[in-house]
C-alpha cells in the first residue's frame, strides 16, 4: 500500500489523511463542484473532481471514485463514514478492481446492514436482543395475548414494513392490546401495503451506549470500551463520552464481552461499533452494528491513546498487529465530544448553512482536540451534513473533562451562521448532565433549560 484514496469529504476526509500521512502513505481526495476549495482537497497530495454538488451525482457514484483511484494510481480506498462506507456493492467493486478496501468485507457489511439478519446473528453470538414476537397478519391474531405476556409491558406494536417511527404504537396493558394491533394493521396496510405487525418490548428511559470493537479478520477481536451517546436530537447524536457515567463495571464488562463475541463470530475485520440500548436496571440489548469508523471515534482515541483509523489502515496494509491485545488497551481518564452543527436549536434544530465569517478555534492541545473540515472564510453549503466540527476534551476524570470542554466552548467563536454552540454549553453545564443522568429523552426533558431563544 502506497497511496490511499479517501472516498469522503469534510472532517473525516481530513482525519483519514492525517493518519495516512503519519504512516507514510500518499493521499488522494475526491470532491464535488461544491467542495473544490475545501480543506480536505487542500490537505491531500492529489485531488480528483467527481461531479456536481448533489451527493447522488458525486460522492455516491462508485464508478467515478474507482476511476479516480485508477487515474491517480491509488491502491487502497478508505470510505470514512456515511456515503458509500456501508455499501456492500461498492466494497465488492473496489476489491474486484484490484484495490484494497479499508473496512470489513462485503459479506459482513451485508449481514449487518440487514437489521433482521443482524439481530439473528447477534442472538446467535449470545448477545441480548430486545424481546420481540413473531409477526401477526390482519385477521390472524391467534396467540397474540400470550406473545404480549412473554414480551412484557409496556410494549410497542410495530408495522413490519414500517420505519422511522411510522406505524409504531405503545401499549401499556393487555386490555388495550387487540384494538391497537388491529388499528396498526389497518394503518400499515394503507401506508405500506403490508398489514403485518409484531410486538417489541419498549425500553423506558433508555441509554444509548455503544462498544467500539476492532477485529483482525482471523477470528481475533478486541473491544476498545464504550461510548455513551444518549444526548441526541432528531435521533442524531450531539454529545458523546467515555466512560459512560454511572455504568456498573459488571455491565461494562458484560457489554464488552458480548461485543467481542459477535465480532469474533463474524471474523470481523477492522473497526466496528456495536450499539446497545441500556435500561435503568442495567439490562442491555443489541440495536445494530455499524461496519465502519464512527463519527464519535475520537472519544475513544482520546481516552485510550489508540489511532483507530491508523489501525484500520495498518490492518489492510498487512502490518503485524499482534501487539494490539485486550490487555494492552487501557482507558485513561474521561473524554467528552461535542458536535458543532450548523443549525438553530431554538427553531427545532433547523439546518442553517451559510458563510463562516468567523471560525476562531479554542487553543488545542493534548487534552483538547478539534476535528473539522472547515476554515474561517469557508462556506457551509446546504448539500451535506450540518456537522461542522467535533470538539473533544479529555481530563483525568469526568469533572475535569467537563471543565475543559466548557472552557473550550467559551473560547470557540463562530459567526456568519447559526450554530448549536450555546446549546452545547447549556447541555454540558446542566445539573442533570453533570450528575450523569443521561438518557435518550434528555434534550426533550430539559428543553426549557436548553432552549433559550435570543440567548
Amino acid at each position: 500500500m502506497k497511496k490511499v484514496l479517501i472516498a469522503n469529504r469534510g472532517e473525516i476526509a481530513c482525519r483519514v489523511i492525517r493518519s495516512c500521512r503519519a504512516l507514510g502513505l500518499k493521499t488522494v481526495a475526491v470532491y464535488s463542484e461544491a467542495d473544490a476549495t475545501s480543506l480536505h482537497v487542500a490537505s491531500a497530495d492529489e485531488a480528483v473532481a467527481i461531479g456536481p454538488p448533489a451527493a447522488k451525482d458525486s460522492y455516491l457514484v462508485a464508478a467515478k471514485i474507482i476511476a479516480a483511484a485508477r487515474s491517480t494510481g491509488a491502491d487502497a480506498i478508505h470510505p470514512g463514514y456515511g456515503f458509500l462506507s456501508e455499501n456492500e456493492d461498492f466494497a465488492t467493486e473496489v476489491l474486484e478492481a484490484g484495490l484494497k478496501w479499508i473496512g470489513p468485507g462485503p459479506r459482513t457489511i451485508a449481514d449487518m446492514g440487514d437489521k433482521e439478519r443482524a439481530r439473528r446473528l447477534a442472538h446467535g453470538a449470545g448477545v441480548p436482543i430486545v424481546p420481540g414476537s413473531n409477526r401477526f397478519g390482519p385477521g390472524a391474531l391467534d396467540g397474540l395475548e400470550d406473545a404480549a405476556k412473554s414480551v412484557g409491558f409496556p410494549l410497542l406494536v410495530k408495522a413490519s414494513a414500517g420505519g422511522g417511527g411510522i406505524g409504531m404504537k405503545r401499549v401499556d396493558k393487555l386490555e388495550d392490546l387487540r384494538a391497537t394491533v388491529e388499528s396498526t394493521q389497518t394503518l400499515a396496510t394503507k401506508a405500506f401495503g403490508d398489514g403485518a405487525v409484531y410486538l417489541e418490548r419498549l425500553v423506558l428511559q433508555p441509554r444509548h451506549i455503544e462498544i467500539q470493537v476492532f477485529g483482525f479478520g482471523d477470528g481475533r477481536a478486541v473491544h476498545v470500551y464504550e461510548r455513551e451517546c444518549s444526548i441526541q436530537r432528531r435521533f442524531q447524536k450531539v454529545v458523546e463520552e467515555s466512560p459512560a457515567p454511572g455504568l456498573p463495571d459488571a455491565v461494562r464488562r458484560a457489554m464488552g464481552d458480548a461485543a467481542v463475541a459477535l465480532a469474533q463470530q463474524e471474523r470481523y475485520r477492522g473497526a466496528g461499533t456495536i450499539e446497545f440500548i441500556v435500561d435503568p436496571a442495567g439490562n442491555f440489548f443489541f440495536l445494530e452494528m455499524n461496519t465502519r469508523i464512527q463519527v464519535e471515534h475520537p472519544v475513544t482515541e482520546m481516552n485510550t491513546g489508540l489511532d483507530l483509523v491508523g489501525l484500520q489502515i495498518r490492518l489492510e496494509r498487512g502490518d503485524d498487529l499482534s501487539a494490539v491485545t485486550q490487555e494492552s488497551i487501557k482507558p485513561r481518564g474521561h473524554a467528552i465530544e461535542c458536535r458543532l452543527y450548523a443549525e438553530n436549536p431554538d427553531k427545532n434544530f433547523m439546518p442553517s448553512p451559510g458563510p463562516l465569517t468567523v471560525f476562531a478555534l479554542p487553543p488545542l492541545g493534548a487534552d483538547l482536540r478539534l476535528d473539522t473540515g472547515f476554515r474561517q472564510g469557508d462556506k457551509v453549503t446546504f448539500y451535506y451534513d450540518p456537522m461542522i466540527a467535533k470538539l473533544v476534551a479529555h481530563g483525568p476524570d469526568r469533572n475535569a473533562a467537563i471543565a475543559r470542554m466548557l472552557g473550550a466552548l467559551d473560547a470557540f467563536k463562530v459567526e456568519g451562521i447559526t450554530t448549536n454552540l450555546a446549546f452545547l454549553r447549556r447541555v454540558i453545564d446542566h445539573p442533570a448532565f453533570r450528575a450523569g443522568q443521561t438518557h435518550t429523552g434528555f434534550v426533550d426533558l430539559h428543553k426549557a433549560d436548553l432552549m433559550k431563544a435570543g440567548a
Binding site: E343, F382, Y383, Y384, D385, P386
Partner: protein, 71 residues
C-alpha cells in the same frame, strides 16, 4: 386572508405535495425542502386555496424566497 409561504432555509425542493387550485387547511404540509440531509416541511398557517406555486421539485432555493401563495 392571503398567505405567502416563504422558504425557511436554503436547500433543494424535495417534494411538492400540493398543486395550484388545491384546498388546504392550517397545518397541511405544502412542500418539503431537503437541507443538509434534513427534511424541512413547510406547512400552511391558515386555510385557503393554493393560488400560485413558485417552486417545483429539485429546485434549489434560497432562504426567504416566496414559495407558495395561498388565497
Amino acid at each position: 386572508m392571503a398567505e405567502q409561504v416563504m422558504t425557511q432555509a436554503p436547500g433543494n425542493v424535495w417534494k411538492v405535495l400540493v398543486k395550484e387550485g388545491d384546498q388546504v387547511k392550517a397545518g397541511d404540509v405544502l412542500f418539503i425542502l431537503e437541507v443538509m440531509k434534513t427534511e424541512v416541511p413547510h406547512a400552511a398557517e391558515g386555510a385557503g386555496k393554493v393560488a400560485k406555486l413558485h417552486v417545483k421539485e429539485e429546485d434549489a432555493v434560497d432562504v426567504g424566497q416566496l414559495a407558495v401563495e395561498i388565497a
